[in-house]
């Protein structure tokens, strides 16, 4: 009975529902000493996000649905990354992600008060995946003008005021993010490809990146109705040195084989990119179900396809002992970011972009620079191979203390085979002692620059086409151009720090100086100058006399009472005389 119920439920969910789930794994041995694996989980929901109330979902994550609904989100891209993607030797990943946490969101065009929505959204996401995204607010977010376009279906004209982009380079992906992230999958981490994501294995990589993307796509060819897509991806780069061998296998990479597909998935597929097989030959066991050849943008790729059934499987590679020495073929475009100058007074922020392509490329560079390092834009220099290169477009919004970061975005034309260096000077600021991050002398992370370009060739490109949903959509997907958005390193700036143990001393000393001025000025303005007899008595005798006065007061008082009376009488007479003299003098003067 129970089984019958389960089977009927399963049939109803999978067959009758408008929600479709696919899971894919790409294993790509890189030309260098690494193997790249990419998990691609897609939930497609044939429902118009504008009219959907998200009260009921079957396999689509309801938590995500509520976020979309409540914060009026049209498109959301979140990534949590540890490590740096080495574009120069690894090519381009399927999903680009900057170091740390990165979030960019398009709000629906009818959103009022985007900044508030943005603040609430980051707080909600922070709770959803246990990352400190709540540190994202308008002091570190910008609305890029040219860099980010909606990657899904848009009906209205694009208005970048509904876009927010922020990056927290210090925020690393870790186990506490992986667990809630896995909970968003229909099969959680129990079965299917999700079960391969064991924290113990995936955090031992050179690079790992979790990401969530929400966007709308066309439901069918005619594109009359939209569908909502939730893409969850994990990108991992294993180092052969860390694996101990070049012969990777699913078990070696993830600690276990694939036990079976997720029952809710329409398809569970593993692809192995054998493009590098020509230079470093390896064989696969078991042999794949199918060999695919993909011709994309002049690039021929060969993939081994494994369709996962309820039979446990572990795909393994074995390399021949003979190794060829490889010539790297660096991708057409890669970049880096670094500081110049020394000391903590002023510095230079530099972005270096390499164009290896045989033709010129137009790139958009976005720099979201925190307000703690105000730029001097008049020192901006953009030089290609030593010659000045004028930007085709330039957008600059200077930062504002404690309110807004510097938003710097420009379009450059990079000549063929060139290196372009963009440098600008900035100055260090001094913060309140409470504004410094913990471990202030470690420094503050500066977000990476984002460089976007439409490459004419698909060399090194693995990303999906804009109309694609699953990884298999990228096979034979030749387009006129291929979008890449590469990120540079994030850099650390160490601001000059005050002495954190000094607040009382600083307050006391500064107030002392104020008092130093107050005392004499008060005297000068309120008191009158006069002559006074000099006290010739020595200090010691003075003290002695005073002490004597205190201790022997009573006896002396009694003895000297009569004498003192006489003395005081004398002094009164003297005083009277002097007053008279003074009065006489003054009357003389007046005359």
């Amino acid at each position: 009975m129970c089984l019958l119920f389960f089977v009927s439920y399963y049939i109803s969910v999978v067959l009758c529902s408008s929600e479709h789930f696919t899971e894919e794994l790409l294993i790509k041995p890189l030309h260098s000493e690494q193997v790249y694996t990419h998990f691609h989980f897609v939930t497609k929901w044939d429902s118009d996000p504008n009219t959907e109330n998200f009260r009921h979902t079957n396999i689509f994550s309801r938590a995500i649905g509520e976020i979309i609904h409540r914060y009026n989100v049209q498109e959301l891209h979140l990534s949590l990354t540890t490590g740096l993607w080495r574009y120069e030797s690894w090519g381009y990943p399927v999903v680009n992600a900057g170091p740390g946490a990165e979030l960019w969101v398009w709000f629906k065009p009818d959103t009022v008060n985007v900044d508030d929505k943005w603040k609430f959204l980051t707080n909600a996401l922070s709770g959803l995946i246990c990352a400190s995204l709540n540190f994202i607010d308008k002091t570190n977010s910008v609305s890029p003008k040219y860099s980010f376009k909606p990657s899904g279906l848009v009906r209205e004209p694009i208005n970048s005021t509904f876009l927010r982009y922020a990056s927290l380079p210090k925020e690393h992906a870790c186990t506490e993010n992986l667990t809630p992230w896995k909970k968003l999958l229909p099969c959680k981490g129990r079965t299917g490809l999700g079960s391969l994501l064991n924290a113990g294995y995936i955090h031992n990589t050179r690079y790992h990146s979790l990401s969530i993307a929400i966007r709308t796509v066309c439901r069918d060819e005619s594109c009359t109705v939209p569908s909502l897509i939730l893409e969850q991806t994990v990108g991992l780069t294993y180092d052969y040195q860390m694996l101990g061998t070049r012969n990777w296998s699913i078990r070696r990479l993830f600690g276990q084989g694939i036990l079976g597909p997720c029952p809710l998935a329409e398809s569970t597929t593993v692809y192995v990119d054998t493009g590098s097989n020509f230079s470093i030959p390896f064989s696969l066991s078991p042999s794949p179900n199918e060999w695919l050849t993909s011709l994309r943008g002049g690039q021929e790729g060969r993939f081994a396809k494994y369709t996962i059934t309820y039979k446990p499987i572990s795909i393994a590679s074995s390399y021949n002992d003979k190794q060829n020495v490889l010539l790297k073929s660096p991708p057409p475009l890669f970049a880096s970011q670094y500081f110049t100058y020394y000391g903590q007074e002023k510095g230079g922020l530099n972005v270096k972009i390499h164009n290896n392509h045989w033709a010129s490329l137009d790139v958009v560079v976005l720099q979201n620079i925190p307000w703690i390092m105000p730029l001097f834009l008049h020192t901006l220099s953009m030089k290609t191979n030593g010659k000045e290169n004028k930007p085709l477009k330039l957008f600059y919004m200077p930062g504002k203390m404690r309110e807004r970061p510097t938003h710097f975005e420009y379009v450059l034309r990079l000549p063929a085979k060139s290196v372009t260096i963009i440098s600008v000077e900035f100055r260090y600021t001094f913060l309140k002692w409470t504004e410094y991050p913990p471990d202030a002398n470690h420094g503050i992370y500066i977000p990476p620059a984002v460089i976007s370009a439409l490459l004419p060739l698909a060399r090194n490109i693995t990303s999906l086409p804009q109309d694609g949903v699953t990884f298999s959509d990228s096979f034979n997907a030749s387009r006129s151009s291929y979008l890449v958005q590469i990120r540079t390193e994030s850099v650390i700036i160490t601001l000059p720090t005050p002495d954190f143990s000094m607040p009382y001393n600083a307050i006391c000393l500064a107030c002392t100086v104020v008092a130093l001025a107050f005392g004499p000025l008060h005297n000068i303005t309120t008191k009158r100058l006069g002559r006074k007899t000099k006290d010739k008595e020595r200090l010691l005798t003075k003290i002695k006399r005073k002490l004597k006065n205190v201790f022997c007061k009573k006896t002396i008082n009694r003895e000297l009472n009569s004498e003192e009376d006489e003395k005081t009488n004398e002094s009164i007479v003297k005083e009277f005389n002097s007053v008279c003299e003074n009065v006489e003098k003054e009357t003389k003067k007046e005359r």
Partner: protein, 430 residues
């Protein structure tokens, strides 16, 4: 040619030569970047930056970010100047310095002449031995040489000039103000003061000497004061036409008063408010601002109402010591006015202490700055100590000057008797 004129011209010549030399050496940018010389309020680099960003395509409003803090009218004035002079903008700074020193020279001479006339006319009232103490004619004749030297050869003023700060212009307005009050020229005094007030707000204290100067039968002091305020209000209104949003006020007045930028300078604010406990911040901002704006102006005005020039100088001294973003150019201006009271030198007691402190701190501050930010072997406290010492030196100088003034006042009246009731006596405030 009289000896005086030769000396003055030599001073000018040497002063200009030093400036030109410093403008052309490679290390010129050092002066521009020194925190003691350029503050967020007077830095020429910020003017250049504001010019630059207002020319780029999306033309962000420089007054909606941390670029420039002087009112838009002043910014426009600097823009016009830089368009006019182009690469030769340094000439503008030198010309402004020459004009300022000339103003001070005229003002100083006139001031001492008036003092001399006053003391000669009152000579019958003074005690016989006071005649030795009243001002002498030859002193008046030589004072202009000292004033020009104190301005043109003053290292602080030279640094200020070659560091391209807008304090150079502020000093010019103040120089004109001195001429205005000494010569009792209503329009010169009120217009120059209004210009200074709208530029950096604190000169609003100088309304007191303005009031005192014109407080006689020929003028209506209240009217003059109001006129000044109206002119400075007009400058702000014209500014608001240039920059359609009033947001610039947030970026000039509010910035000066709330001092949110903690870049070190020679003042007391920066470290104090870096280290301030958050819940006391507002309290101390108010007390520090009241300390400079409201605390001393009334007592000093009442005490020195007979001498508006001294009152102006002492208020300027207080402003420079306690304002939120002081710079060396302002200290230099106060120092350059000191030769007006060369005749008080005899009565001053702490000349050595203050001059040695000035000298030491001037050398020490850049040294500890380097140790802190470049070598990493010192910390912020070192520089804070240097600024404290500098403020203390200025306070000693100011109080010494004022004390010398009242001492001289007393001695002229009551003679230089060092005895009281047959015993040795000292002069004391009581």
């Amino acid at each position: 040619m009289p000896r005086n004129i030769t000396l003055i011209l030599t001073n000018y010549f040497v002063g200009i030569a030093i400036r030109l030399w410093l403008f052309f050496i490679d290390y010129n940018t050092i002066f521009m970047n020194r925190v003691e010389i350029s503050t967020p309020l007077n830095s020429w680099r910020r003017v250049v930056e504001a010019n630059y960003i207002s020319k780029i395509s999306n033309s962000p409003n420089p007054y909606e970010s941390d670029v420039i803090y002087e009112p838009p009218l002043y910014h426009m004035f600097y823009m016009v100047l830089s368009n006019l002079f182009g690469e030769q903008i340094y000439l503008m700074f030198i010309i402004a310095d020459i004009l300022t020193s000339y103003c001070l020279c005229v003002a100083g001479k006139k001031y001492l002449e008036t003092l001399f006339k006053k003391e000669i006319s009152n000579i019958d009232d003074y005690l016989p031995d006071a005649v030795n103490f009243i001002i002498k004619e030859q002193e008046i004749e030589s004072v202009d040489v000292y004033i020009v030297a104190a301005y043109m050869l003053n290292p602080y003023i030279i640094f200020n000039c070659v560091g391209y700060t807008t304090t150079v212009f502020q000093n010019l307005y103040l120089g004109l103000f001195f001429v205005g009050i000494v010569k009792k020229n209503v329009f010169l005094a009120s217009i120059s003061l209004a210009a200074a007030i709208s530029q950096s707000f604190y000169p609003i204290l100088l309304l007191a000497p303005l009031f005192v100067t014109f407080n006689d039968k020929r003028f209506n002091a209240t009217l003059v004061t109001t006129l000044t305020l109206i002119i400075s209000g007009l400058i702000l209104i014209i500014s608001s036409f240039l920059n359609p949003k009033w947001s610039y006020l947030n970026h000039s007045l509010k910035f000066i008063l709330s001092a949110p930028d903690f870049t070190p300078n020679i003042g007391l604010f920066w470290y104090f408010f870096i280290e301030m406990f958050e819940h006391f911040r507002t309290l101390f901002i108010y007390s520090f601002q009241l300390n400079v704006i409201a605390l001393y102006v009334i007592p000093l005005t009442l005490r020195f109402r007979q001498d508006p020039v001294l009152l102006t100088t002492s208020l300027l001294g207080i402003i420079t010591i306690f304002k939120s973003y002081p710079s060396l150019g302002e200290v230099g201006f106060v120092l350059a006015v000191l030769p007006f009271w060369k005749h008080l030198q005899f009565y001053m007691q702490q000349g050595l202490l203050t001059s040695v402190s000035f000298f030491m701190v001037t050398l020490l501050a850049p040294t500890v700055w380097h140790l802190w930010l470049y070598s990493g072997s010192a910390n912020a406290n070192f520089y804070f100590g240097a600024t404290l010492a500098f403020a203390t030196a200025q306070i000693f100088m100011l109080t010494d000057l004022l004390f010398a003034y009242i001492k001289r006042e007393y001695i002229i009246k009551y003679g230089c008797v060092k005895e009281c009731d047959g015993q040795e006596a000292v002069l004391l405030l009581e």
